[in-house]
Assembly symmetry: C2
Amino acid sequence: MTAVVTQPNWQAIAREFEAVVGKSGVVQRREELLVYECDGLTSYRERPAIAVLPRTTEEVAEVVKICARASVPFVARGSGTGLSGGALPIENCVLIVTSLMRKILQVDLENQRVIVQPGVINSWVTQTVSGAGFYYAPDPSSQIICSIGGNVAENSGGVHCLKYGVTTNHVLGVKIVTPEGAIVDLGSEIPESPGYDLTGVFVGSEGTLGIATEITLKILKTPESIRVLLADFMSVEAAGATVSDIISAGIIPGGMEMMDNMSINAVEDVVATGCYPRDATAILLVEVDGLEVEADLNSQRVAEICKKNGARNVTVATEADERLTIWKGRKAAFAAMGKMSPDYYVQDGVIPRTKLEYVLREIEALGQKFGYNVANVFHAGDGNLHPLILYNNAIPGALEQVEALGGEILKLCVKVGGSISGEHGIGADKRCYMPEMFSPADLETMQWVRLAFDPQGIANPTKLFPTPRTCGEAAQAHGQKVFEGIERF
Amino acid sequence: MTAVVTQPNWQAIAREFEAVVGKSGVVQRREELLVYECDGLTSYRERPAIAVLPRTTEEVAEVVKICARASVPFVARGSGTGLSGGALPIENCVLIVTSLMRKILQVDLENQRVIVQPGVINSWVTQTVSGAGFYYAPDPSSQIICSIGGNVAENSGGVHCLKYGVTTNHVLGVKIVTPEGAIVDLGSEIPESPGYDLTGVFVGSEGTLGIATEITLKILKTPESIRVLLADFMSVEAAGATVSDIISAGIIPGGMEMMDNMSINAVEDVVATGCYPRDATAILLVEVDGLEVEADLNSQRVAEICKKNGARNVTVATEADERLTIWKGRKAAFAAMGKMSPDYYVQDGVIPRTKLEYVLREIEALGQKFGYNVANVFHAGDGNLHPLILYNNAIPGALEQVEALGGEILKLCVKVGGSISGEHGIGADKRCYMPEMFSPADLETMQWVRLAFDPQGIANPTKLFPTPRTCGEAAQAHGQKVFEGIERF
């Protein structure tokens, strides 16, 4: 398995790429490559050797075959908005950028599906079909800029995933180019297809199993009616109990978000919604949808549950502009942190809903121990936390401390029966925490599946899984059997 | 890859099994093995060399390790109700029977999940949690006898899968024994887990990737209110248009079933519901659920759509006993065919809803061409057809003709953009039709994944995929590269 690594002949490889995508589709100048040296996780940076911009499935296949023949690693990149370093280049890699693959290939309203190229922006899908009364459900906060290909790679979530599920629940099939350059169709246009469900494996595989070049998405009928409730609480306990009570009552809100006092004030400073009470300890935003009668009744029931748990005020927004105002603050929350602090680090972990209160208290204690403020704004309904650690990167050693604090928060999530990632992926950021959740046998099984797709280990190597080289001791447990190919890179 | 096949020393292997599960857990006498020689697809029969009945994950692991050391193939079997021969023994195999693994290991209402052993019967899950207001959604017609392990292997569906999805949508995680005898946890108790979604691959893998020994199921809140509508039509066109119109109106019924005149009469002869009009060309059964106001409004809307499309009568059942009467006929439909004909063959294919009318007409024409009556009773909402071909197995050559007719129906499904299996699996029955749906590259990718789990090819070999030996020419297209290990068996 050990390969002799010689420096690739990049000039020759570039000429091969040019023969496939033309001169304008190959980027080699150092200053032009600068824009590709990180994704949304800006604390990690690395420049690729070459960036290539194909336009079709066939061009992607040819580009990948060139990489495979030369045994050089490649990393796929959509809009570069990912938060875990999934699209971060690795040293001496080819970056395959999908930003010229932005065609909506088919709109089939009758069968409620849309086929897109991977560079298509998330919000374009809904824009395309909304006139006919449909929408595409997964809605990451970055939806006006992030690409469907990136959403597939990271199995992205969003505010409305509580009721409607994450990306994997909305991908019917995907045409991929394997790391050997073969064009393979996973899944089909029919929801349940026989054989192994490889669509499900591919979604969330973070670029390690190949590149999606055509994605068949399920679209849903726009609900007849939507209500958004804003309730404010003087304790996190009360807000947490409300979340549990709503779910226990059999109500599945379209979305159910919590923001703490620090987030509320950050948001009001920046976007001034005017409707978030600055003195509240926590607010809940609850969206209910469905038939008019259903949304009406459920919004009454949610309001009663909020009141019973001590909410000071409950506002119900019915009209579209009122609803947008309430959501505007939530959607801008990450960006608003930029005003509070020179830098922030977003963590992404999942806990059982029932542990909400305990975990938030522990996060606060951890923040105090490390000496950092932690703001909380998150998908409360599915227990998907987003602690935002505020820090100043100009202070030497701060990033390391913040990463250590982030790691402690992840371990806490696992300890209470949760997960180290809800929707941002593992990427480069969290690979060393995988052994917290998975046994050596579990990880080894995943590695064998990786090997089934990528025998050379050239597709986004070093991401997603720990290796002795990237994680040292943490990867030792399965160090003997781990797929050795990726250790080359 | 070619192994020297010598006859295994079955006596020595049996003694090893006895050391793990005790003498009573090992079945070797020919007459006792008779009960295991087929599953619900009774036209295929083969006796295993030995049947073993373990009770725990550890016992399953030891049993599989014995098979792996001896390089003998094994087949897992739950209740043996499968309809595609997935649990059919192969020559000289070990049958691993899960019928002593019937413990419900954990009931966690707060987090809406139940952990069960694979031999637990489907309907027991709902029985266990219904008092607390929950239920387990997937409901195959055989739910009072089929096992959860078998449901996982075949990714079983049922009447209520239109709204709530099939088995894979309700399995959060699964502990498996791999074909090498390792105990591996796939997925987790948290709905979205990082790394590859191997739970999704395992569900529906028909015993080829290992044996599930602990399954974590999602349970749902029982809906507040349910209505079942029965509408009768004088043309299949009208019934089909009604199905499309209901979905287009944005209503997602809990279930939406169609039965043709032959099925209606077979059912009335046997269970005498008294509510299925014998002169109708087709009836639709539509269940709507949710809040009382929602079920009320949607049942009115469905009734209007039925009337608009020419339904003669629309009955709405609100009370539990009325609803059960309507469903009783549908659930007994397959069994009722036994009165109409000495034998019947159930086909299972999927088509886009929009092609319903065309495909039913073509099926009728195919039946006439081959000279057999075909009854239709099926999940109309998701286009999952179940043509029942009536024949007499005592007539030489009849089974072969019926299988050929069944194959033509499958090809028709694929031609209109559908699938060769909706919920019964591929098993031994349909493996030769896989190349109708998948390209050689698609099938090869699945084979590599199989190899990742099962390097020796001993887990339910010859099932699910075509090989030159089982399917001749049909498998030639990928004959060169197909996983050669399974050709030994």
